[in-house]
């Protein structure tokens, strides 16, 4: 036993400095709470141990929302990206998703710099080995060197470090990600305090040497020329773009893998953890989709100052020699050298059903958790939860009500509600299809949805809210302008004719014209004489989307109204579900475990049927009536 000593007292302690931990600590400190962030290694702050990119479908939405609320991820990737692409541009505005390739080291350094220069934020390298929980309340944490820090709130964001094991072929290493130390004592401590831990796994592909690739055998992939940025605070960032490369596996590749299946840790049965279906290893893809003749892969730079290249789509935990062999069967990679082998990593995480929507534990006052520890996967999902956990830890310290976003307000709300209400059997990934109201939850309007909310809780500062208010004003003024602006048919018709659209017989208001699906702002530039010079892309986009999709947006708003009516029927945490006999047994167990905060949340629990929901409605009604009789 090491000697322990009291080493400080904080409002909030964040355990782990990955994407969840960084957002949690920054949010809490920026809200004025004395905050300590602890990491096993300060060189791994905001490390990206897997893909070198931020954003993507659904994930890009999360980053925009984090930014709109005053989080850091968007600003940080804008400082460190290598190329950027708006995905799904051929589809509607709701599913446009921004994704940027990141310079990993730069991303880490920039985030570390921000952390180091934030008031009220203290950074220490330390391994937390136990949580001090007394009478169902968090008191503090103890580190491996005996330092005890007391705290009013603790945010656990241990990522893939907790009880982690690395698998490469038949080699099993007791290690954290990327050769870093794992966290084992804490895992044991949590188990001894009756935390229900389970094993999840994920994997990453090999990194190969850029000098050993034949680029003319691959297809070059550039980002958008007219690239967008993640942060609503940035108008323009200069970029010296770096390309990615596209290649394909072939039958030869597949045969190498199939012939060496006995050397795969995934299929030999040593891994017990559950992996994500949407992010399968190459060996899984080949076994599961035997008919597919080729699988695509992207070669992506890991940074500007390194030769390491990430091989997206080729995640593998086969032995290193097999990895090298199948890589070399791919066009462009025939003489490649592996710098870091791919691996599978297995780690401990919790069952998120025991969390409240605020990400606080149902039965441990002041303890919050976020990120992969909660069963999610991905940097963006982690950051989003970290932000909310940090906000709510700070609010708790300040004695304020928790900050909860619902499914109709943000992807963040969908993410957390899914985790906390439905739980997850595999590492949870955000997808746009998980959001019921995605026409409203666009990435382009994340600030309109959330910045005011962020300001109200004290996370969004004056510079952002001022910029935001200016934008709102511009949108309103522009809307007014074009709804009053008459475009003369003599001016308009030549443009319509050129576009192959039927001409008009009288003047048309610009606002009405833009409702037509085929006509955009840029088409009217030459005849729109009063157009303000300072009009930004952002403003134009809001005006266009609002006008063009008015009918659909209205429909979705009606759906939200219905949703809210069930969401507003609150269920108190002290309901004894086991005494409600007309609930089916499974429903009683689930409701008791999850303790939903509303009828709406209850209805989304798997194992709670519509019949059970009607029982709950009747129960609420009965309770209400009984109350009103007693009063």
């Amino acid at each position: 036993m090491v000697r322990t000593y009291h080493s400080g007292n904080y409002g909030c302690i964040v355990v782990g400095a990955g994407h969840a931990g960084c957002e949690a600590a920054l949010a809490s400190a920026r809200m004025g709470v004395e905050t300590l962030i602890l990491s096993i290694n300060l060189d791994s702050i905001a490390m990206m141990p897997c893909n070198p990119s931020i954003g993507g479908t659904g994930k890009g939405h999360l980053v925009k929302e984090i930014d709109a609320l005053g989080g850091e991820m968007g600003l940080n990737i804008d400082k460190s990206f290598l190329q950027s692409k708006m995905l799904n541009q051929s589809k509607g505005p709701a599913v446009h998703s921004l994704r940027a390739q990141a310079d990993k080291n730069k991303y880490h350094m920039e985030m570390k710099k921000v952390l180091e220069n934030t008031d009220h934020l203290h950074i220490k390298q330390a391994e937390v080995v136990s949580l001090d929980i007394e009478n169902d309340k968090i008191k503090g944490v103890l580190t491996a060197t005996g330092a005890y820090y007391s705290a009013e709130t603790v945010v656990l964001a241990t990522g893939t470090y907790l009880g982690s094991k690395i698998y490469i072929g038949d080699a099993v290493l007791t290690s954290g990600p990327n050769g870093l130390a794992g966290s084992y004592a804490l895992a044991e401590n949590l188990k001894s305090q009756d935390f229900e831990l389970r094993r999840f796994k994920t994997g990453t592909p090999a990194r190969i040497d850029a000098r050993t690739l034949d680029y003319d055998e691959m297809e070059v992939q550039w980002g958008d020329q007219d690239y967008e940025l993640f942060s609503f605070m940035n108008d323009h960032v200069e970029l010296d773009e770096m390309p990615c490369w596209l290649s394909y596996t072939n039958v030869g590749t597949h045969n190498i893998i199939l012939n060496n299946m006995d050397k795969s840790s995934l299929f030999s049965g040593v891994i017990e953890g559950t992996g994500p279906r949407y992010c399968p290893s190459i060996e899984t893809k080949i076994v599961r989709f035997k008919d597919k003749e080729r699988h695509q892969l992207f070669i992506e730079p890991e940074g500007r100052d390194t030769n390491e290249m990430y091989v997206q789509g080729m995640s593998s935990s086969m032995s290193e020699d097999v990895q090298l062999a199948f890589m070399r069967s791919i066009p462009g990679l025939s003489r490649c050298e592996i710098m870091r082998p791919g691996y599978a990593i297995e780690y401990d995480c919790i069952n998120p059903l025991h969390l409240k929507l605020s990400l606080e534990y149902q039965n441990i006052d002041g303890l919050f958790s976020a990120g992969q520890f909660n069963g999610s996967s991905g940097y963006e999902e982690a950051a989003a939860q970290g932000l909310i956990a940090g906000i709510n830890a700070a609010l708790k310290v300040q004695g304020k009500e928790p900050f909860i976003l619902d499914r109709s307000e943000a992807y963040i709300g969908v993410l957390i509600d899914d985790l906390v209400t439905k739980g997850t059997d595999e590492p949870y990934r955000m997808m746009t299809s998980r959001a019921e109201y995605r026409l409203l939850l666009r990435q382009d309007n994340a600030d309109l949805r959330l910045t005011q909310r962020g300001y109200e809780i004290g996370l969004v500062k004056e510079n952002r809210i001022t910029r935001f208010n200016t934008k709102i004003q511009m949108i309103e003024e522009e809307m007014k302008r074009i709804q009053a602006l008459n475009l003369k048919e003599s001016d308009l018709n030549p443009i319509l004719t050129a576009m192959g659209i039927p001409t008009v017989t009288q003047s048309v208001r610009m606002g009405d014209l833009l409702k037509r699906p085929e006509i955009y702002y840029k088409d009217l530039e030459t005849i729109d004489n009063t157009r303000p010079v300072h009009l930004t892309k952002d403003v134009i986009k809001q005006v266009e989307v609002t006008l063009k999709y008015e009918g659909y947006i209205k429909k979705q708003l009606q759906q939200v109204e219905k949703y809210k009516s069930l969401e507003n029927k609150k269920l108190s945490a002290d309901i004894d579900y086991y005494s409600i006999e007309s609930l089916r047994l499974e429903a009683r167990q689930k409701l008791d475990e999850i303790k939903p905060e509303s009828i709406g949340q209850a209805s989304r629990i798997s194992g709670v049927s519509p019949a059970d929901v009607s029982v709950l409605l009747v129960y609420l009604e009965q309770t209400r009536r009984r109350k009103s009789i007693n009063e």
């Binding site: 479908t57 599913v95 019949a611 009747v618 009965q622």
Partner: protein, 455 residues
């Protein structure tokens, strides 16, 4: 949640040899044990018949067989007791009032089924079918309700819902994995899937009208001025038909409603007091009622007296009948004909005209035939499993149909996929409301609006 104990007489009230009383709820066993004295030992076993007496204190009320059914493996998922006692009003009433005294409450109409739904025993469509079953007036209505109870409707709707879910999944793959090597679904493929389901929904909807007639009966109103033989005609029709159910006892002399059964279709036959102008206060009320009946009627039987010339009142009635589905009866043809048939033809040239003598029993079969051929679209085969009869189901099908149509329009206009999906999702939701797979508060409010929530 706590549900009180409800009780109801399960067999029709009448002179049957036995009567069954059913009781369900938390105290069902306690109550029966307090009044039942078994001959020998009560085995207290699930679904076992036990012979004994129902006792009111020291007094023996009846000799009975009782069955205890242990929840949750019962219809309501609660503890249920069935008492088989002697038929006839007296013993049943006596036992019932004893049960009520011991703490049970009279069940409301359909309440056992509501509990079965509330307790998760049956889905919504099934619950509603049971209600329909209880209220079904004829064999066809019964078959239809039975079919829905067995889940035919749910199954069909589920198939449509699954097809839409499938479509969604195909669209979503392209959206959430834009860079994967997967071909996006095309607009024409989306259109094809949508139109298949649209057709299925439309077919179900087409059946809805006939479904309503089968379930609720065809409201047929007999009108004519006094003494043309309306009541006799009604009696003659009723005498001929089987399965007569009296729905509304003669609470008023003004409108008499009876059920008859022609070709498996329930006919709600209404005899009216007439709709002439009158100053008499009492008669006025009758006339008002008649007018309402007349306006609501699916079919009108207009009776004229062949032995009298057409009166102003007849001509006035003709004006009313003109715009309705109607059969014209010229009655009393056994007497000397004084009526001007050409005049009738001139006014009601598109109506079927039948000559009868109800007195001599001539032409009654012709009237029956005319009714049954007018009932349903001739080209429609009636297959109970294909019929939707519940108003709520129809509403949701109509909404789903509109959603699908909207989605098809969006597809034809090549709107982005995420917009098409707004309507597809809404359609899935509406179809789900029929099977009870989607919850909506309004729906529950509607269904449980009249449900007494207990103590």
């Amino acid at each position: 949640m706590y549900f009180d104990t409800i009780v109801a007489i399960s067999t029709p009230i009448g002179e049957g040899a036995i009567g069954i009383i059913r009781m369900s709820g938390a105290e069902a066993f306690e109550i029966i044990e307090s009044i039942f004295k078994p001959f020998g030992k009560d085995p207290n076993e699930d679904k076992k018949m036990v012979y004994g007496w129902i006792m009111d204190g020291e007094e023996i009320l009846d000799e009975v067989l009782i069955v205890k059914m242990f929840g949750p493996r019962t219809y309501t998922k609660e503890n249920v007791v069935e008492i088989n006692c002697h038929g006839g009003l007296v013993p049943i009433r006596a036992i019932l009032s004893l049960l009520l005294k011991k703490g049970a409450r009279m069940a409301e109409r359909g309440e056992f089924t509501k509990r079965a739904f509330l307790n998760g025993r049956i889905d919504l469509a099934q619950a509603e079918s049971v209600m329909d079953l209880i209220g079904s007036k004829t064999k066809r209505g019964y078959d239809m309700a039975m079919n829905q109870l067995e889940g035919h409707l749910s199954k069909r709707v589920r198939t449509m819902r699954d097809a839409m879910m499938n479509l969604m999944a195909q669209v979503e793959v392209g959206i959430d994995y834009p860079e994967e090597d997967i071909e996006d679904i095309t607009y024409s493929e989306i259109l094809e899937s949508l139109s298949t389901v649209q057709h299925q929904v439309a077919t179900l909807l087409k059946s809805a009208n006939n479904g309503k007639i089968i379930r609720e009966g065809l409201k047929t109103v007999i009108i004519g001025k006094p003494n043309v033989g309306k009541s006799s005609l009604m009696n003659a029709l009723l005498k001929d038909s089987r399965a007569i159910v009296t729905d509304v006892p003669g609470t008023t002399r003004d409108v008499i409603e009876e059920y008859m059964n022609i070709g498996g279709i329930p006919i709600r036959l209404v005899d009216t007091a007439g709709i002439r102008v009158t100053d008499d206060v009492v008669e006025k009320i009758g006339v008002e009622r008649s007018k309402i009946s007349f306006n609501e009627a699916d079919l009108v039987i207009f009776v004229l007296n062949a032995s009298e010339p057409l009166s102003d009142e007849d001509l006035d009635l003709m004006e009313h009948v003109k715009n309705k589905h109607a059969i014209v009866i010229i009655n009393k043809t056994d007497l000397e004909i004084k009526i001007d048939e050409n005049e009738i033809n001139r006014h009601l040239n598109d109506k079927r005209i039948i000559k009868t003598s109800v007195e001599k029993e001539i032409g009654i079969d012709l009237v029956e035939n005319a009714i049954s051929t007018m009932l349903l679209d001739d080209d429609l085969e009636i297959n109970p499993s294909e019929i939707v009869s519940n108003t709520r189901h129809i509403n949701h099908l109509e909404l789903a149909h509109k959603n699908i149509t909207d989605a098809m329009n969006a597809t034809s206009n090549h709107l982005p996929y995420d917009f098409i999906e707004v309507d597809v999702k809404e359609a899935i939701l509406n179809l789900g409301h029929i099977t009870g797979e989607s919850v909506e508060e309004d729906l529950l409010n509607n269904i449980f609006g009249n449900f007494c929530l207990g103590k």
